[in-house]
Symmetry: C2
Subunit: 421 residues, 2 copies
């Protein structure tokens, strides 16, 4: 079974909005074994929508459409779909009551404009939108299912989960598809490809290996298609294990998880706590850690010491060190890490001080220079990094480097380096 | 002039990667007055790439392609393009030396695999990649310019800035296009649309108003096309001012800036500093503020007090308050804000405590309940919010609400409510 995703909205074509919906929908379809063969983004424009429908209806099994369903005048998807599928607009009482309820819950006045949201084509199945005002719509034509949903991400997700995915699952008897992901940290794509050349050549035709590089990390994704699911699972697991053994401790996880999930899991398993003393990252390390539900098991608090006098006052970095070595130095992060660990009563602490850019660099201390310190009860050490990107990416690279230091510390001290084979 | 963006990569179709490249490229093209009429994402697959080229070459002025240029076996864009434009692959010495230099700078071994990156079709103009190993390529056929670039965002951006945009600018004599954006905070899209109904109806045909809702904010974008740029500018400015006067203080900015830029600008203008005492947001407020270069002018440091004993120890929240009112309460955030302001010697402080989810809620204190406190030397107060989304979005909504409190405080005390007309 194949599918095509169409996203509608001028904002996508002028680049004011980043399309996160398509990735989420693609993930959900893939989990059901439905390949997405193409994604198309088009304007809020009658002709553009009609052309996209002509290109896809009758040529794929499922078309998922998002966007252009809001109450305002620039949203025209609904009337175009109604025309295309030869229906007429009718007021849906169930939707109307729901829309009124939402406005009443939010203490906002119900406007005449909002009544339009309860009008739907009489040739579609209405898909209930639990958390928003714009309903989804399910059409069928020429053996293609066409589903239209609002572009607001959480509304689209609610309709997918409540209405779309259960209906699609019912219709499915597809070939199995199986993905297996390994997360590697700290080395480049071509280095890994070189290490894996013989394993990659030995893969059977129905298994593919893809390299998905991002800042400081490369995801390796094995995809197997066709046949029985249990066999595919076994095959991908076997190849994943071979790859993991070959690559050693640069493999941080053998499932598609984030760096912060890896760290929270490791800390929880060993009943340890962590804290941070952040200068240049400005709270980003703590933010990322606390994105994981259950982070409170391993994290009690942390401090952002952006200015020098705050480093002095709360982390007892001596004025002489700040004067001689500077705020971005080994001596500073060693003291920051040591003191933060005590301040927040943690087992492990990370301290970061650097120059993320765009300005503030010198000949001796260029933009991108970052010192990261790590302290435990037993020892404290620091590493120097020079990142070569812009402010946002240097922050992200610092996060990856810092969390990888925690990971390696934990592997070495608490897991006997189990990943090193 | 029109353009189409094609992104290549299986990772886009299984949803493992969110496509940020397209938005960035679309922005750059729009600034030059080139409309993007469509974006297409396809697989790393010869047929898919060929079909996409057939659909676009000869039918639009510019085709921008990203992805599929890495050194690994799953990247096949280059040979397909070479075939399509009837060329053969040749080794480019300039690129080869550059690739070798990059590997030597990074202290990584140069592999045979990497030599392939210096091979380019002999029918293209090679576009130098200042920061990566895969060069860009510029082809022309049937009056269409086809440009292929790597998918790594910062490499694509470097090639666009260094090579592509200057060349395109040279060729251009297009109609002017002009965008003007207003940022509103805290009210819904349909409320705004209702307020603006008559202004929207009065817009001339060549000016469009679009609503771009995101969490807690709605961007309003005026787009004017055709004629002289200075006239368009004047027209959009005039309509923007009318809209701003109509909407009053929900308009946070009259240009496309982030909430944190607005706050850093306001604080800098009045030489004020801010600090944060964060519980549920776990450092996110400080992180967002410090994303703005120059944040050090207005921010010295902050504290993340995730656990109760940390709130007690450093922010002096009495045990009795934590016991009676709980950590998520008005009394707690009032004390947190008051003490954080003293601790970090700031003019304004924000304290946040809430339950972001997915679990931890009770009948009395449901998931999504967030208390935000604000303290200055003159006063301290708190507001209660109930957000209805998931952990990530509740964090984002809390950020927006907290920064909007700062904005309103500053407008009222330091700008005499200038926005209220």
């Amino acid at each position: 079974m194949t599918s095509i995703i169409i996203t509608i909205g001028d904002e996508l074509l002028i680049g004011q909005t980043i399309d996160t919906n398509s990735a989420w929908m693609a993930q959900q379809l893939n989990l059901l074994g439905i390949s997405v063969t193409r994604r198309i983004a088009i304007a809020d424009d009658k002709d553009a929508i009609t052309i996209a429908l002509d290109e896809t209806v009758g040529k794929t099994d499922i078309v998922l459409i998002t966007g252009g369903l809001g109450p305002t005048a620039d949203d025209i998807t609904k009337p175009v779909l109604c025309d295309y599928f030869g229906g007429k607009m009718v007021l849906n009482d169930h939707v109307l009551n729901h829309v009124k309820q939402i406005f009443s819950n939010r203490n906002r006045p119900f406007l005449e404009l909002n009544r339009k949201q309860a009008e739907v084509p009489d040739v579609c199945t209405v898909l209930f939108n639990r958390i928003g005002t714009a309903p989804g719509m399910w059409f069928e034509k020429d053996k293609t299912i066409v589903i239209s949903m609002p572009g607001v991400p959480f509304e689209m997700q609610a309709i997918m989960e409540d209405e779309v995915l259960p209906r699609i699952s019912e219709r499915l008897k597809g070939d199995a598809i199986c993905h297996k992901t390994l997360i590697t940290v700290g080395v480049g794509e071509s280095f890994i490809a070189d290490q894996l050349a013989d394993i990659e050549r030995s893969l059977p035709a129905h298994i593919k290996l893809a390299y998905l590089p991002s800042l400081g990390m490369v995801k390796l994704r094995l995809t197997a298609k066709g046949g029985r699911e249990s066999e595919l699972q076994h095959e991908t697991d076997t190849y994943a294990l071979r790859i993991k053994q070959r690559l050693g401790d640069i493999v941080a996880a053998d499932k598609d998880v984030s760096m912060e999930q890896i760290i929270v899991e490791l800390l929880t398993r060993h009943r340890l706590t962590v804290t941070f003393a952040e200068s240049c990252t400005g709270g980003y390390l703590a933010h990322r850690l606390t994105m994981v539900p259950g982070a409170s098991e391993v994290f009690k608090g942390s401090v952002v010491t952006y200015a020098n006098d705050i480093k002095q006052r709360y982390l007892h970095v001596p004025e002489s060190v700040l004067h001689t070595d500077g705020a971005v130095s080994e001596a500073t992060v060693l003291q920051m890490a040591t003191q933060a660990r005590i301040m927040f009563d943690a087992d492990i602490s990370i301290a970061v001080s650097g120059i993320l850019g765009p300005s503030g660099g010198t000949e001796e201390k260029p933009v991108g220079l970052v010192w990261i310190g790590l302290a435990t009860a037993a020892h404290v050490y620091a590493r120097k990094y020079v990142f070569r990107h812009d402010r946002i990416r240097n922050k992200e690279l610092t996060f990856n480097a810092a969390f990888d230091l925690i990971r390696k510390e934990l592997l070495e001290k608490y897991e006997g380096g189990e990943n090193k084979e």
